[in-house]
Amino acid sequence: MKRFSQLAWPYLVWAALMLVLPMALIALYSVMEPGNSIISFSFTLEHYVKFFTDQDFLLILWRSLLIAVKTTIICLILGYPVAYFIARSREKVQNILILCITIPMWINMLVRTYAWIGLLSEGGLIQRILSLFGLGDGELLYTEGAVLLGMVYNFLPFMILQIQTSLSKMDHSLLEASADLGAGPVQTFGRVTLPLSLPGVINGITLVFLPAVSSFFIPKLLGGGQYFLIGNMIENQFITVGEWNFGSAISMIMAVIMMLLMMAVRKIEIRNQGGKEE
């Protein structure tokens, strides 16, 4: 039986080359003087200093985090009731509804985002509907609202599916027990349903927040050329400015922030599970 463990060796080599080495390279480039090659390496922290001493860069980082938080909150508010409804449905209906939510996820994200351009642009459907209510004046495309909408649209299914999974695993007799013991529907939801669905909520938050922070084509397509988030800043450094060392430093900063946030989320999750066992 042990001999099967040899099957993993090729992958260990592959993973070292294709997963670990790239990260090591980013770290290396981020502390390298500009124009340096790996061979004539000389160490510097100037790129990190440049980022953290500049208000404009910090403001971009802040705005990226903020819009990701907004996206996550909206996804949670919209996604939870939907997931709850799906989990409550009969199994056949449940499968169909899940399929309905999965199909758009299979369609290319860029294509789906592009589709919003026509809907939001001047004289487009959304503006015409809004103008029926006398709200048609403002520009819709190339605003922060458009970016937020694009993000919610793209990432909401992750939230719904995660919460739905944890809700449908829940044992229904718990709800009956709670009702039998005299809890009202609100109390049952607060004391039983919500805590049990928390792992799904946390997974959902991770799956929405992570891509929302780093997304760069949603802001570019729906926010326009002057709408910059941290992802656009990284793209810009690599594609048009050509300062890869600075770009690598921004990437490292972003990766570390994400890692810290994920660790914090995990902690909450673990503490929560610990609480349940008591």
Binding site: P22, M23, Y29, I38, I60, N108
Partner: protein, 631 residues
């Protein structure tokens, strides 16, 4: 249960599904639109589908997307399954470490993973293209396969394989006959995740691709600046393919369950239709690509020409005609700025022809990245206008053959903008709050600084840091007080539809806009502007210089040059074409933007200076950030 809550839930569900399908439905409807507009439906037509089928870019992207997805799914499923089995029997330390490593692509922001791959390929000088894209896709798919196979393996009885071997099975038989059938559901769902991830991927592909290899996402991203309903057509095609695959996958188990109840074979049945559907989808893609026929006895039969050119910078037919005539196939990749092009070329990516601007050609020559043209093979020089030959960046035209040329100016809506304001203020009209919220800037560091420097009365080639700083302040004031939009090619369709009053624009784009919308005008300030020219050059590391020379001649001769210039709107370097298009009955008759001016002594040609370039580049990023933070 919860009967009272049902109506609320149902309404919510309906709204949600409407929300998810509205853009998709809208896209499908507009793919059949007769007109070019994305907002008003003018009649049914299959025009954009024809367009799509004729677009080599799109067909190749479809092929690339699905062929990579299928290969990456297949390889990562096999490797992932084998590795998962291996890992499950490995020591705990190794297992834990590998859990962390596999988490890297899942827990890192995707753009970070993408940059890691890009740096890897560049550091080890692996040429970016189809192979690198495939490798990257395999690399990010395997962890998902392992993740979905692992739980199934853990739930197996660890003695199962031993039992099989005790009964005389070889290890191979134990693996394929005992273990694999038990974990098939995990393998199937892993394969499905891998396939979705690969088809859906944009960010990683975007950073690791090269040599004109594009998947669907990259094509949509690069084409999205111009209104192009063929994007809707190809998206609709993808929606249809994906829906068929999904429905088949979901129906398969139901059908299998109906035909025979609860047999173990049923589990395997799931895989077959899924695989069949995937391959059917691939076949559609491959057939579509192979529509183009072949020929024989042509000088460059079977060879490939890699061109790196500006977006929307070639005529409708020139590439097809050239391929027809020579038998070669052309792969075109587009850039939106000289800087973007430079980074790729300086990092060793190989193209046969580039079309950079004046100052960039100078830089490429200085850095020894170009090869001299073979004067014996260049037969087109006499056809070109004298005004674009022998310019300071390449005085003898040893390296370059002009392609398009023109000026930079202000496109304005005659109904909204007073010509007097333009004449009085020149480029300073971009600070006039009368037009607040009604202005486009162009996302080009050189030309934005040109505008600011000219507005302040300086030379656009200044090396004086004080003057550059003033220009920076001018631009910051502009983005902070004028509520500007910074665009690239989006300006063309938007100005043609009169969406804003003013914009900084290249003369050729202005010609196009004015030809589409007679209310638009083009103004070149008296304080001077940029007299630019873009020319074809052959980089040192070109793989097929012979074919490149042939193309340079082809694009400079009357037919090719006419097709380019009349379709795109930029001024041809070919004198005869220029005369024909601007003369009586020409497409651009009476349009002042088409003929570059030659009588203003304040006009200049860009000169490359490394230090200034760095300063401008850094300051321009900051202007954009200021614009973003102001909005």
């Amino acid at each position: 249960m919860n009967k009272g809550k049902r109506p609320f839930g149902k309404i919510l569900m309906i709204l949600m599904i409407l929300f998810f399908y509205l853009p998709i439905g809208y896209m499908i409807i507009f793919s059949f639109n007769d007109g070019k507009s994305l907002t008003s439906f003018t009649g049914f037509s299959l025009r954009w589908y024809r367009h799509m089928l004729e677009s080599q870019d799109m067909m190749e992207a479809l092929y690339t997307t699905f062929s990579i997805a299928i290969l990456a799914t297949f390889i990562s499923t096999v490797v992932g399954t084998i590795s998962a089995i291996g890992l499950s029997k490995s020591k705990k330390v190794i297992r834990n470490v590998m859990d962390q490593v596999n988490n890297l692509p899942m827990m890192n922001p995707e753009i970070v993973t993408a940059i890691g791959f890009m740096l890897l390929f560049i550091t080890f000088k692996i040429e970016k293209g189809y192979m690198t894209m495939l490798l990257a896709h395999i690399a990010f798919c395997i962890p998902y396969v392992i993740l979905s196979v692992m739980p199934k393996i853990r739930s197996l009885d660890p003695n199962l394989a031993d039992a099989a071997m005790d009964l005389g099975a070889t290890p191979w038989q134990a693996l394929t006959k005992v273990i694999v059938p038990q974990i098939t559901p995990g393998i199937v769902s892993g394969a499905l995740i891998a396939f979705t991830m690969s088809v859906d991927d944009f960010i990683i592909s975007y950073f690791v691709t090269g040599r004109g290899v594009k998947n669907l996402s990259i094509v949509v991203y690069t084409m999205s600046k111009r209104v192009n309903p063929s994007i809707n057509a190809i998206s609709t095609l993808v929606v249809v393919i994906i829906t068929i695959v999904l429905v088949l996958i979901n129906l398969a188990p139901i059908l299998a369950a109906k035909s025979r109840k609860a047999e173990t074979v049923g589990k395997r049945r799931r895989l077959l239709p899924a695989a069949a559907a995937v391959f059917a989808a691939a076949a559609v893609g491959i057939c579509a690509v192979n529509l183009g026929g072949g020929g024989s006895n042509r000088p460059f039969e079977g060879q490939t020409l890699h061109i790196y050119n500006w977006g929307e910078y070639t005529g409708e037919n020139i590439i097809g005609d050239f391929e027809e005539e020579t038998g070669a196939s052309v792969v075109m990749e587009n850039f939106d700025s000289n800087e973007q092009m430079y980074i790729k070329v300086a990092n060793g990516e190989s193209y046969d022809i580039l079309v950079p601007s004046d100052y960039m050609i100078q830089r490429l020559i200085e850095e020894d990245l170009l090869q001299k043209l073979d004067p014996e093979k260049i037969t087109c020089m006499d056809l070109l206008a004298d005004a674009v030959k022998g310019l300071p960046y390449d005085p003898e035209n040893e390296y370059s053959v002009p392609y398009f040329w023109g000026t930079v100016g202000i496109v304005y809506d005659k109904n909204k903008v007073d010509l007097e304001d333009l004449e009085k203020e020149g480029f300073n009209i971009f600070l006039d709050e009368k037009y607040k919220g009604d202005v486009y800037l162009y996302d080009s560091e050189r030309d934005s600084f040109m505008m600011a420097l000219k507005a302040l009365g300086y030379s656009m080639n200044t090396e004086n840091e004080q003057e550059l700083q003033e220009a920076y302040d001018w631009l910051v004031q502009c983005v902070e007080t004028m509520d500007t939009e910074i665009v690239t090619d989006e300006i063309i369709d938007n100005m043609a539809q009169g969406r804003k009053a003013l914009g900084l624009i290249y003369s050729g784009d202005a010609s196009y806009v004015m030809a589409e919308n007679p209310d638009m005008g083009y103004y070149m300030p008296e304080s001077g502007t940029n007299l630019w020219s873009d020319a074809m050059v052959i980089p040192k590391n070109a793989k097929n210089p012979e074919l490149a020379h042939a193309f340079i001649n082809y694009a400079s001769e009357y037919d090719g040059a006419y097709d380019n210039s009349s379709y795109v709107g930029y001024t041809s370097a070919n004198q005869e074409v220029m005369d024909a298009l601007s003369g009586e009955g020409g497409d651009y008759e009476g349009i002042n933007a088409y003929i570059p001016r030659s009588d203003n002594e304040n006009d200049e040609v860009f000169v490359y200076n490394e230090d200034t370039k760095k300063i401008i580049s850094d300051l321009w990023s900051r202007v954009k950030i200021a614009a973003s933070n102001a909005g």
